[in-house]
Symmetry: C2
Subunit: 304 residues, 2 copies
């Protein structure tokens, strides 16, 4: 094969995905493994990376590898300090882990921090950079659904402020580990959209009822035989609804761009539509890659 | 010792507590074990009970044993059907598990159910009966804090309606199993009352901000070194605050009687006081025993 000119790596808590790029930013090859940050000690990062990219390296030169995500966390490979908003989504100084191989040099993208209210992100800033690479004049709100979903306000190429909500983690804990798990077995049939949408409206418009609405799922299972699919859909809707209540100031006055076109991204689009807001979606994977590709330019700036 | 005239048992998910009573309702002896509903198959209930009460049984007669709590759940010893509110907190028909010993007859107190909004309780109805045993004319709101806290409106000796909130379970999941656990190690120093009270006010008065307030605990830990004790206290306050928002219609117009005088009961009293409401507290253990003692009269009615 042609050797990689550059290598981009999206290194999250659970997975590592790498892309061999040519000089124009085209993808020559890609690979992935489950060597996420959650299972690696610092010494294990270089071997985990080399296991995927070793065959892409030109023995005659040093190939730059740009990494975004949780590999730059305090408990990751090496900490990449946060940059404080308002600022461009991606910029230096990049963290530089020491590597043993003479064939690579590694750069880790810094996360973003916000002083008041306190907040942090790590990984999503690169997806936001990907959004801006494709839409340089974008002004508005970007929503990045996930275990910890992020909402960011973008103005003139900068992240003005952002907000993190633990919605995905709450759903995982409540559906799998709380008393609600008894009526919520995943039958693989996806979501009941009507039950989901009604629950979104319920907590988005009356957030004070949120706490009371949770145990009602268990009671309806016991007393009325509420179906697991409807129960799961309602739990998801209640949680995304209270997220929408917390993020209302962000989405109510302008369209939201959702980063994620899979099932979760579609739920967020449904939720916003239910609340009378408008939403458009772009692929999360494509935005991460576009953001990393764009960020190689920042490395050149950082070096100079 | 004197043999028990009657035996009362409070059989929860994690523990079994039994009391040997004399003819006047006085406590001759008590014992407990960790043979809670959560670890027993139906066949293991009688041995678990006999292990504690065997020495209290008069060989010359059949001793009645009255049980409240999760032993009457569908996944317990034998299901004790729910009674629908509005109704007196305790009444027949009691569930009657078959027992091998000729020396005992066992009665399990039914739980309560509410059709709309759907809700159930099992165990707390007996504590409410204990409240009414001591205050026959009580009219008002009873709050029973716990893993699943209950709020009940009492009028003319009956439970009119009630509400369940999973506050304790949410606290356990978020503080021990979510990303928030990193900044929340229990240093055994109890709660920071100021941090707790401020968080209660925050979500009780602006419940829409609840979802946003959770991850902020993690961000403040990372960016500002928020102390574990303050973080735990704030998480507890945010959760009890959103409970207070959901239960506002119950506590805002009349005093609340809290069943529980331990640390959790005191947090609920602090929360209500912070919100300008008034609260009084009684011992949860004493109310369970008083309720069971009182309920022996219901068994006589049920038999006749």
């Amino acid at each position: 094969m042609t050797y990689a000119f550059r290598i981009a790596a999206d290194w999250g808590t659970s997975n590592l995905r790498v892309f061999a790029l040519d000089e124009g930013g085209g993808v020559l090859a890609e690979a992935s493994s489950d060597d996420g940050m959650g299972r690696l000690t610092p010494a294990q990062y270089e071997p985990a990376l080399m296991a995927l990219i070793g065959g892409w390296l030109d023995p005659a030169r040093v190939t730059p590898v740009l990494v975004c995500g949780m590999a730059g966390a305090r408990q990751g490979w090496i900490e990449a300090a946060y940059r404080a908003v308002p600022c461009a989504p991606v910029g230096g100084p990049f963290a530089r882990p020491k590597v043993e191989s003479p064939l690579i040099e590694v750069f880790i993208v810094p996360g973003l921090s916000q002083a008041e209210p306190a907040d942090v992100m790590r990984g999503e800033e690169t997806q936001i950079a990907g959004v801006l690479a494709g839409r340089p004049g974008f002004s508005g709100v970007v929503c990045l659904p996930g275990t910890h979903s992020k909402w960011a306000v973008i103005r003139e190429g900068r992240v003005e402020r952002f907000l993190t909500l633990m919605t995905g983690e709450l759903f995982a804990l409540l559906s799998a580990q709380s008393v609600l798990r008894h009526g919520m077995a995943d039958d693989g049939e996806g979501m009941d959209t009507d039950a989901f949408a009604a629950a979104v409206r319920e907590t988005a418009t009356e957030p004070a009822g949120f706490a009371a609405s949770l145990f009602r799922l268990r009671a309806e299972n016991l007393l009325e035989g509420l179906a697991p699919r409807a129960a799961r859909s309602r739990l998801s809707g209640l949680l995304i609804g209270i997220e929408m209540a917390s993020a209302r100031a962000l989405w109510q006055d302008e369209p939201t761009l959702i980063v994620g076109t899979g099932p979760l991204g579609r739920l967020y689009a449904t939720a916003l539509t239910q609340l009378g807001a408008s939403a458009e979606a772009v692929s999360g994977e494509a935005m991460a890659l576009a953001g990393l590709t764009r960020a190689f330019a920042n490395i050149e700036e950082d070096k100079s």
